[in-house]
Assembly symmetry: C2
Homo-oligomer: 329 residues x 2
């Protein structure tokens, strides 16, 4: 019987349990994956805590991203066959399809092959990060050459994906990080400029870097009171994507900068993209092309074995990581 | 010498003084207007108080909207001549060009003829209200048949303009007003539904009116804590225009509805439209067409003589008006 991660109560990392569950069969339109690697996401911490957009039905599985080999195919699946090397695109209810474990069943539509040049660990670190950045920056933000983009929480896998996309488009990637310890990492990852927000004035620095215009796009998963500064550092007509709620404090709406500069503040999640077949198709094409060209390249921070899943969650919560945390199976 | 309204200190309505000032000559690209009527706007109260986007240089003129007859034309003005019957499009610094008075000089580019079928009082009640609503609803909001639109502070001239535009597009105009006293007025003005927010639950009522979908567009000059309810009543993928700051309380950003539904919250002012020649042109064409067809029709609440300008401002601050307050000159 495959080992599957579940939790019987919401709470800290310790609620995650490795359980032996019967090998399940894929239903109509589903495939079964022999999992090789899991990519971890903050959404999974929030889901585990009962603080996510989706509420867990206990006991619950969890997990959005897995890479592996298809070992069973359900009825009416035509695009995939047993033996295909694929990873999952987060576009399903986590409680129903959660992929943490040695075996996972997911909708075939939430599955994509990944380039042969990538390892399974890298394969588990593609879709969440690149599709999230693609949707905001490319699909909605219409990112173009020369655009200044502020990327907050830039050391996260999505932050790095955004840096790579801005560089691939010949924009100006302005990464922010709280402490100085991640500065050289972000420069190495391709950021044109790194602002250490614990030590530097964001608005002043962004204005200096953009001839006083401000950034055209802000890509922020933090929210909270810092949004006011981000809005002040945004150019007239600019757009701020809020794609998470990491800040522990409420978020004031930056009304006066928004009025004075005609700012757009856009709540955004990956689900808008993956639920729209046209956008999803464009996203896949863009990402495959970038992976092949090498302009997009997953950065793995650290790996954990599946038995240490709770420890991996604790590490993710600690904010030490630079890039993707991967669990090998 | 023409009487001109100025203020020598920021403050209450009593700071507005009627002063005899020398008749000025229009400069390059400017025209001089013999003023017949003034349309009043809340922006002028905020400017008078020193709380507007633009800060007054004292002593300061004020006022955005005047209708009258051109009685002098500056160098390099080709589109207008003496005797033309025009009104002003707010697209200039209020302190420099403020139109409250018997004579006003404005840039020719901020001037437009108005249909012969309209009185001067109506002519002074066109551009701010219709161009503001046009920019948000038509230009950016891409309003279409069947769209449900929540219009807050709906008894204001801009609110009524929005109701008329939604009806002209065959959308569903959901007007909100705090007290029940303006309900029948709003129904008469064309609103499909009126929600009295002091007595009714906005979210529940909007959901009932939209088959549980919510409104696709919200057009709100209030902001403040009510934005959270507006966001909850907005449909997935919907857009909320914040075009003012009437609320006395800070505005929390509705992060969770924004994330869950991919909401766009857009700070917006008329200036984006009037500073963009293409948008301004489209707006003028749209508004002329609507005025001629009768789908757009200014509603005048009450008129005051110029000598009672302070009283007119007090009345505007009282929120009793239903439609435009006009000062006759």
């Amino acid at each position: 019987m495959p080992k599957i991660v579940r939790f019987h109560e919401t709470g800290g990392a310790e609620v995650l349990k490795l359980e032996d569950l019967p090998l399940a069969e894929p239903g109509t339109g589903e495939i079964r994956l022999k999992v090789k690697a899991l990519g971890l996401n903050r959404a999974e911490i929030m889901f585990r805590k009962g603080q996510y957009l989706e509420t867990p039905q206990l006991p619950s599985r969890l997990g959005y991203e897995a890479a592996g080999i298809i070992d069973a195919v359900g009825p009416e699946v035509t695009d995939f066959q047993i033996g295909d090397r694929v990873s999952t695109i987060p576009s399903f209810p986590m409680g129903e399809y959660g992929v943490y474990g040695e075996s996972a069943i997911v909708p075939a539509s939430a599955t994509a092959k990944y380039p042969a040049s990538l390892s399974a660990n890298e394969g588990a670190a593609i879709w969440m990060q690149y599709m999230t950045a693609f949707g905001a920056l490319i699909e909605y933000g219409k990112l173009k050459k020369g655009d200044a983009v502020i990327i907050t929480a830039a050391s996260s896998s999505v932050g790095i994906a955004a840096i790579q996309m801005v560089k691939a488009t010949e924009g100006i990637a302005i990464a922010t990080t709280r402490g100085a310890d991640k500065k050289s990492f972000l420069t190495d990852a391709g950021a044109d400029h790194v602002i250490v927000t614990d030590e530097e004035d964001l608005v002043e620095k962004v204005m200096a870097l953009t001839n006083g215009n401000g950034a055209r796009i802000v890509f922020d998963p933090v929210a909270g009171p810092f949004l006011e500064q981000l809005a002040t550092a945004t150019a007239s007509g600019g757009i701020i994507f809020e794609y998470g709620a990491l800040a522990p404090h409420p978020t004031p709406f930056p009304l006066f900068p928004a009025l004075a500069k005609g700012l757009t503040i856009r709540g955004y999640t990956l689900f808008e993209i993956v639920k729209n077949p046209d956008m999803l198709k464009r996203g896949k094409e863009y990402i495959y092309k970038g992976l092949e060209a090498g302009s997009l390249k997953p950065i793995i921070d650290r790996t954990f074995p599946l038995a240490d899943i709770a420890e991996a969650h604790r590490y993710m919560a600690s904010n030490q990581q630079k890039g993707k945390i991967v669990v090998t199976v």
